[in-house]
């Protein structure tokens, strides 16, 4: 018996995993809605598109809601992780793989073969995209695109799996309010406002599609020439939006992150985070908690930041160079500005937070800064406006392909059921990395460990979607101050001993990080 210890206990047998009557009905209705979408994809031409689209989306909405109601409504309010590791879908079983393959396939088609969804370069859409035309026309006045279809389904997922989450965590006001927040920002800011803004566009006035909460570098294309040109040509409103985009990075973000930690964005506002917290919630336990994974995370995510900084600098400087008279900012001033900013950030961290940096972080930061600055220097002195060692355009397109599409979509969301719901946020998102640096060094936010109450049970670490080994801190009485923490609050919720609390009150000094083994032994001394 002893040699079988490392095996999962679920192998030997069966708790009840079947679903109840309401869940069965919900499943049938929801899949009926999906079936309509599938039929449309295979070019079944529905005669009354508005009717069939409404029916389909209505069925999906009702199906998810009914399923969730069946799952949680008759259970008492509290943590609902029973059987997570026994169910195929939530324990990387057969259904998890099926879902993973379907999602991944969907993303590949969406990003690279939208024509299979019915997108037509010229003429009327067909298939799935055509089915969404009535809704798109009602909102923006334009026919649907693959992105409109995706945006609609994405928003639906956040709303209705959000409802599921609200039922699951109905005992926890933090989770309720946070979920309402992501639903609000997705529905309003990411979906409705940009669509309605498109209504304002005419031959003489045009704004780029702009989700106001989508901040650079997550919104890596925000400062590309075509968008900047559109902003500028749209007059005061456009320039205001452009300025807002810049202020978001340099003013709004640092202030909010200082006060609340990066959670104000990552688990309250962001669309990627919104999907992860709602539709992705059943898969949060799959994040890898090993110290090895943490190491990989630090290298990969910070490399993405370097990539996006180099790419954006190259892209902006290339058009500033082409069209020197058109923009008040000159290429030289821009490059010098970037150099000063990066050097300043580096200097501030090294002067004030040196003792917090591990050796590998110091080396990596120094090497990366040197690389970026020498690229800028080469670019500056060779003076060839189109060259940034690499072609700006090829940098942009490879970033868009590798990071924007493959990483965030295909791997980040497609692999939810296998690698967990925050793979993109943890390993890939440059926005999360920048907010993370602020959170680690310049923020009041931390998760407080409650004295000696930790029993090392592992619930917090298991259900941390960011792969933070929370208990490793809690069992030492140490606060959790990690750059990757998105502040979802689930560690605190699942803790059976009331050990963890997300806080942003005063306490920004050394004690924010210190081990406080209070009352662990020796009468507290």
């Amino acid at each position: 018996m002893l040699n079988q210890l490392d095996k999962d206990i679920s192998i030997s047998g069966g708790p009840p995993v079947s679903i109840n009557g309401k869940q069965k009905v919900g499943t049938v209705i929801g899949f009926a809605g999906l079936l309509i979408l599938a039929l449309a994809t295979f070019n079944l031409d529905f005669p009354h598109k508005t009717l069939w689209l409404s029916l389909s989306l209505g069925c999906i909405a009702l199906g998810i809601s009914l399923f969730s109601y069946g799952a949680y409504a008759d259970k008492s309010a509290g943590i609902k992780n029973d059987g997570v590791y026994f169910k195929s879908l939530s324990s990387r079983g057969f259904w998890a793989w099926v879902l993973g393959i379907v999602l991944t396939g969907f993303y590949i088609v969406l990003y690279f073969f939208p024509e299979y969804l019915g997108l037509k370069q010229a003429g009327e859409n067909v298939g799935l995209i055509a089915l969404f035309d009535p809704l798109s026309k009602a909102l923006s006045g334009n026919p649907a695109s693959q992105w409109f279809v995706y945006g609609t389904l994405y928003t639906m997922a956040i709303i209705f799996f959000g409802i599921k989450y609200l039922l699951k965590y109905r005992h926890n006001p933090y989770q309720r309010i946070r979920t309402l927040s992501v639903i609000f920002f997705q529905t309003g800011f990411a979906f409705l406002i940009p669509e309605l803004m498109a209504r304002l566009n005419s031959d003489s006035f045009s704004l780029p599609y702009y989700d106001l909460k989508n901040i650079w570098p997550l919104n890596y294309y925000n400062f590309e020439q075509y968008r900047v040109d559109e902003f500028i040509s749209a007059g005061t409103v456009g320039v205001a939006l452009l300025i807002f985009g810049v202020l978001s990075i340099f003013v709004v973000t640092p202030i909010l992150t200082y006060k609340f930690g990066k959670r104000w964005y990552c688990s309250w506002v962001c669309g990627c985070g919104g999907l992860a917290e709602t539709a992705g919630d059943p898969f949060r336990q799959h994040s890898d908690k090993s110290t090895f994974a943490w190491k990989v995370e630090r290298w990969v995510i910070h490399s993405v930041v370097v990539f996006v900084v180099v790419m954006t600098t190259a892209v902006i400087s290339s058009y500033l160079g082409y069209d020197a008279e058109k923009y008040w900012l000159t290429k030289d001033a821009f490059l010098i500005g970037v150099t000063i900013l990066l050097t300043l950030v580096y200097a501030v961290i090294f002067i004030f937070k040196r003792q917090e940096l591990k050796k590998d972080a110091k080396i990596a930061a120094t090497v990366y800064l040197a690389i970026i600055l020498s690229l800028i220097a080469i670019h500056y002195w060779t003076g060839d406006s189109s060259i940034f060692l690499f072609e700006a355009e090829s940098l942009r397109s490879s970033y868009g392909f590798l990071i924007g599409s493959v990483f965030s979509g295909v791997i980040g969301t497609g692999f939810y059921p296998i690698f967990g719901n925050r793979v993109w946020c943890r390993f890939g998102c440059p926005m999360a990395a920048i907010l993370g640096i602020q959170q680690r060094f310049f923020s009041k936010f931390r998760i407080t460990s409650n004295g000696g109450q930790c029993i090392s049970c592992g619930n917090c670490s298991t259900y941390c979607e960011m792969g933070i080994d929370v208990k490793a801190y809690a069992q030492k009485g140490q606060n959790i101050v990690r750059s990757s923490c998105v502040g979802c609050g689930v560690c605190s919720a699942v803790c059976p001993r009331g050990v963890l609390k997300l806080e942003n009150g005063a306490d920004t000094g050394a004690s924010r990080y210190a081990e406080k083994p209070i009352v662990l032994f020796q009468d507290g001394k």
Partner: protein
């Protein structure tokens, strides 16, 4: 190099090993027959309920032990030879030590009930118990749990997640009646009942009845009622797991007898955690403390002494916590089931009867002594400081917000509690 052997890789033994390693280069061997690696015993229930897997309840990654040069030995110690300073394992192998720490924990306590050895009857303490429970509960519908304490309520929660109906026999008038005052006990009992457990108070086990295959088929209670069931959980408590010490020089009573430095009667042999029994408790608590936290404190304490810094066991202000289904419990200081003569208590319960606080303070000098909390999280650091520095009850009530540890946006009750306290004070005056 000095060789320190530790019997038992639970929280006590592991804490001792870690703290010794922080201060010393000695060779450390951590011995356990149960599992190769340390796991959190308190988390066993979550494995059964499917919240976590075995690997998720290990507090340290597997490479931790090698990195910290703590040798792991998975073997059962059959005998201790104090004169040769050797451990003899079940397979006859021997291991010499210079220093020994006995941290062998507990085992479930049985009271020689008729039928307690039938198939389907068990306690819950070890990983092997969990495996047995997994096997014993396959495809069954009805279980009886005996003993109204913490392991019993965990077992009830576990069984219900698998659709097994539970009858819970509790000797007292309410759940955990030998620890909780009446109101708390009733509040918890109500919560447990709400989850569908058939709680039977003032009811005890008389006999367990088996079928022809030697499997449990029913229990008979003291009142003569026969309850059909396919599983019986015996959770009336645990006792020190020290049978391997029989015939050795080590002095034992219920547990291994130790002084305030956790020393046994034999030089360089110590005992800590659940299996240790103080000859006289250094702070006047019960002589055997079977709690995660005290095991941790004993482990850290004994490590100091072994590393040359003679340190008596001084555990500080008592604290403990538990969770009954969805209801969290924390306590700081000693709240007795019935207040002592010099104590006054102030009890507050929310309107819905789902949360409560009980403050205990000194009748004469109004010193704050202890608190029970159900459904409200309290800040350990603050409570510890208030009790330690003998703050007055009035200070505690007025500054209660500082001690709140509930997540953000949770409903707060400080004002309500303050008003209720003033009212009680007026009535008392």
């Amino acid at each position: 190099m000095k060789h320190i052997a530790i019997i038992g890789n639970g929280i006590s033994g592991v804490t001792a090993a870690r703290h010794i390693r922080k201060q010393s280069d000695a060779q450390i061997t951590l011995i356990s027959a149960e599992t190769k690696h340390f796991f959190s015993r308190t988390a066993l229930m979550y494995v059964y309920m499917g919240h976590m897997r075995y690997q998720d309840i290990k507090p340290y990654e597997d490479h931790f032990w090698e990195k910290n040069r703590i040798d792991l030995k998975q073997a059962y110690v059959k005998k201790l030879e104090t004169e040769t300073k050797q451990l003899i394992f079940e397979n006859g192998e021997r291991l010499s030590f210079d220093v020994l720490i006995i941290a062998s924990g507990s085992r479930p306590q049985f009271f020689n009930w008729p039928g307690q050895n039938l198939q389907g009857v068990q306690g819950l303490y070890s990983w092997q118990d969990l495996e047995l429970m997994q096997a014993n509960t396959q495809g069954i519908k009805k279980a009886v749990i005996v003993g109204g304490g913490l392991i019993g309520v965990e077992m009830a929660e576990m069984l219900l997640t698998r659709g097994i109906a539970v009858t819970f026999l509790v000797r007292e008038k309410r759940f955990w009646g030998n620890v909780l005052p009446q109101e708390e006990g009733e509040l918890v009992s109500k919560h447990i009942s709400k989850h569908g457990v058939d709680l039977q108070f003032e009811e005890e086990l008389e006999e367990i009845l088996g079928d022809e295959k030697g499997r449990v088929r029913a229990v008979r209670t003291k009142s003569g009622e026969e309850i059909t069931c396919e599983f019986v959980g015996l959770t009336i408590g645990v006792q020190p797991n020290i049978s391997f010490l029989e015939g050795s020089e080590i002095e034992t009573a219920k547990g291994v007898l130790v002084d305030e430095y956790l020393r046994t009667n034999c030089e360089n042999i110590y005992a800590i955690g659940d299996c240790a029994e103080f000859r006289e408790h250094p702070t006047g608590r019960k002589n055997i403390e079977q709690v995660w936290y005290t095991g941790k404190i004993m482990g850290a304490t004994v490590a100091q002494t072994i590393c040359g810094k003679q340190t008596p066991y001084r555990p500080g202000v008592w604290f403990n916590s538990a969770k009954f289904f969805d209801l969290e419990y924390q306590t700081y200081g000693w709240v007795w089931p019935k207040p002592k003569a010099e104590e006054l208590t102030f009890y507050w319960e929310d309107e819905k009867g789902e949360k409560c606080l009980r403050f205990v303070y000194h009748r004469e000098n109004r010193t704050f002594l202890a608190i029970n909390a159900l459904g409200i999280r309290l800040r350990h650091e603050v409570m510890d400081e208030w009790i330690r520095s003998k703050q007055s009850i009035d200070h505690v009530i007025n500054n209660l917000a500082k001690a709140n540890f509930d997540p953000e946006f949770f409903p707060r009750h400080e004002k309500e509690i303050q008003t209720a306290f003033q009212k009680q004070q007026k009535e008392l005056a």
